[in-house]
Symmetry: C2
Subunit: 230 residues, 2 copies
Amino acid sequence: MSVHTHLSLQKDLRTRIETGEWRAGDVIPKEVELAEDYGCSRTTINRALRAIADEGLIERRRKGGTRVLAAPVRQAKFAIPIIRKQVEATGAVYRHHLLSKHIETPSPAIEARLRLKQGDEVAHIETLHMSDGRPFAFEERWINIAAVPEITNAPLEDISANEWLVNAVPYASGDVNFSAVNASAKIAARLETQEGQALFVLDRTTWFDSQSITTMKLYFAQGYKLHTQL
Amino acid sequence: MSVHTHLSLQKDLRTRIETGEWRAGDVIPKEVELAEDYGCSRTTINRALRAIADEGLIERRRKGGTRVLAAPVRQAKFAIPIIRKQVEATGAVYRHHLLSKHIETPSPAIEARLRLKQGDEVAHIETLHMSDGRPFAFEERWINIAAVPEITNAPLEDISANEWLVNAVPYASGDVNFSAVNASAKIAARLETQEGQALFVLDRTTWFDSQSITTMKLYFAQGYKLHTQL
DNA sequence: TAGTGGTCTAGACCACTCA
DNA sequence: GAGTGGTCTAGACCACTAT
């Protein structure tokens, strides 16, 4: 093994791009040449370049070579943890209150979001998530009973629907939207704020194996920020 | 080469986890065994497992083996493109208006955010981004002149500060926050909405080589959603 | 101390794509 | 048709860590 690892190579190659040695649009040397220059195997160079390409810094084409991209599309990554863990990560004590749970015929909007057949019923659940005794987020959720019939017997006083579902259907996929809304009177009361207060909202619909599981809206208390680094 | 590729292996291994053949907490077979089972080399198995580990589905430890994680931390990825491209991607026509540009002594808050020395000056720029003639986002930005002196001569009527900076300092890193705020009277007027309207805000500070470049707040017009898939 | 993943290597063949 | 990246292989040694 030479003195280079795929990580040190990544760092070095990235630097050569960032300092402008290789400018946007330039074709950088081919793998075989880089391998000779660095005195390592082509496999290792390849791994380093692949990592950089995944980040969007370069673009690679067979025969065309490897190009530095002009406007790297910045990708922000957010972790979407279970709410309990999100609260506990701040050092606060988590609790949740099950405010209501009904089995009902969904509104047309919910029926469409979950792509239900007519007559399918949903569990409609309202939960308040607390951090050190103060409201952290208000959750309104609808669950496709046909997909998860066990929900009707779940002990949602002890474990939040959020967490129960993650355990019951851990590897689901889904759509996520973030937006801002003015608090309605009802939601303002839940979150102990004023009607009209701007709230950060997470809107999520979850699927497993092309069957809809649940759709939910999570209204975070005033002042919440979603943070990440680039 | 066997019939397996690292991609087909990834898919197969993922399925075995998602269907519950390997449950949360289980240790799955070691690389050498999987290589024998699938009739491929350990290198290929390793690559497939590494990819799955990057997604947060499994956890790998030397000597400890590979474990299925209990609560996979879902990672949402968002692309953060140049605003012009974001608008144009919807098929709309993009334009921007430079509302103001001043060289000034920063407020203490901005000074702290950019970690400026006392006496350092900033360019304070206000821009309105338009989509098909309607307000799309209002941008308030402060630029560290010491870091990017060329900004004082940049033709910001023709190219938005957003885009100019991406070209001038393409490979910067930074912090990003998303939040919700009520529109002030001034911002409401810019975005042609009402005071108090909940707005989705992107708050970003950018660094290059541990020197601060710029900090900005981007207020999106009413109804904006940030979307992604899991 | 022993077992498992982390990584590197040299060589090979393949697949895409540019000219 | 030829050049470049994409990938696989077999073997090797290393680094971490569980027991």
